[in-house]
Amino acid sequence: MPYDDLRSFLDTLEKEGQLLRITDEVLPEPDLAAAANAAGRIGDGAPALWFDRVKGFTDARIVMNVHGSWRNHALALGLPKETSTREQVEEFARRWDAFPIAPERREDAPWRENTVTGDDIDLFGVLPLFRLNDGDGGFYLDKAAVVSRDPDDPDHFGKQNLGTYRMEVIGRDRLALQPVPVHDIAQHLRTAEEQGRDLPVAITLGNDPVVPLVAGMPLRYDQSEYEMAGALRGAPMPIATAPHTGLDVPWGAEVVIEGVVESRVRQIEGPFGEFTGHYSGGRRMPVIRIERISYRTDPIFESLYLGMPWTECDYLVGPNTCVPLLKQLRAEFPEVRAVNAMYTHGLLVIISTAKRYGGFAKAVGMRAMTTPHGLGYVTQVIVVDEDVDPFDLPQVMWAQSAKVNPKEDVVIIPNLSVVELAPASQPAGVTSKMIIDATTPVAPDVRGNFGTPAKDLPETAEWTARLRSLLAQR
């Protein structure tokens, strides 16, 4: 059964031992962020963290790291928590093919229970806001979904966008918004600003666990995130009408903030520690004026820590980045078994493939660099054999250490394109790229001494599943 709201998912996390309640009183800063930061440092299986004793607050309910481990990511998709990373990505890709699944409209949303408008609007009265990193310019909403419509085509459901964009609280009723120019909301804002009009937006916090997955997904401009959520859930996504803007928002949200992006206004924003492991900011960004807040009684504030990887956001964007590359490569090379593109949005990619003939693996690596995502990201490719799991990094390192003859198997190509934010590019936006062919040479490539490999026993796969299942039942 898919989850319709955050609360039902938290119940499951708790039953599965994947939600840790911090019962001691903590400081809002630096404890909340430091604890969530630490969740990414304690290894696989980190739980969500729940805080309700935060110094100075009377009724704060804060949850962090909800998607911050492969176990929690599996549970968000309704899979057993022991599902391997590779299987989760494969299942993600399979469900993606069911797109689109139309949403289901339900107007009895629980966030209709409480409303504030006009002069009563005060974000601090509804949300226990706090800072994440030392250099952040303020308190951020960093796991909210922002909904907006195309002002030139407002009735087109698919062009309505739901996306995660960082927002800095710059007043009781004001937020600074970062619409990255390539993202859909920037296109909506541009159209509105060309017309001299404000852009209505609805911001939903504390969503069901599939919303943050689709809100960070690189869909086409006219593809609906709600219809993708339906595909990933395996059931229609429940939506409701936001009362002030008429925008379609998740039924299960904890809080719905409505307002407008003020036309042609920019104010200083940031910095903010970002997913690249570096700060960005100190730029003038658009501003949202809040006009209405609706919220469930005793709302839960969900936030995520991000900074030096790995953090929760790497789990949120990891499969999203793997799946398009996997699909694009398999379309031409069905030999491709799996793609791990989870490192800094796919700046480094590991591909597992069977070989047609000698030299084939290098061709797969070159093709990865020329996919739409590859043009801007794929800077390093490690290609491994079909029996190496690209998500099992010790196994990948074994393949690289045992199979690579550097002079022939490392290929470096100069002066290729990459996103400007890639910290190592020089000048920004230009980089060399590298393929490491860690596959076993096949004819007519007869290099090396690979004639007698020791393979996993035929029965090992069955035993792997059996051991995992037994461990999970303990």
């Binding site: 800063e29 706090f130 250099g135 960004m285």
Partner: protein, 90 residues
Amino acid sequence: MHSSDSGRPEAADASPVCPRCADTGVSTVAHSPVPGVWQVLQCARCLYMWRTTEPARRTRREDYPLQFRLTEHDIATATEVPAVPALRAR
């Protein structure tokens, strides 16, 4: 004689300066729901926002990291992202 913090004003005092840009136009935007525990302050010029109970590296001008400090010039010359587009002809 060793140095001491005892003579320094608390960040919550009546006339704090912005730790980031040193402007004195600081206002209170929120009080702790439990009275008297903390306040959230904000600089009118650079919009920096902080809670008075945060570590000194975030709340005191003298401890604020150099790489995150802003000047009036930095704010005035900050890039617009995204740039405001031209108005469409009516």
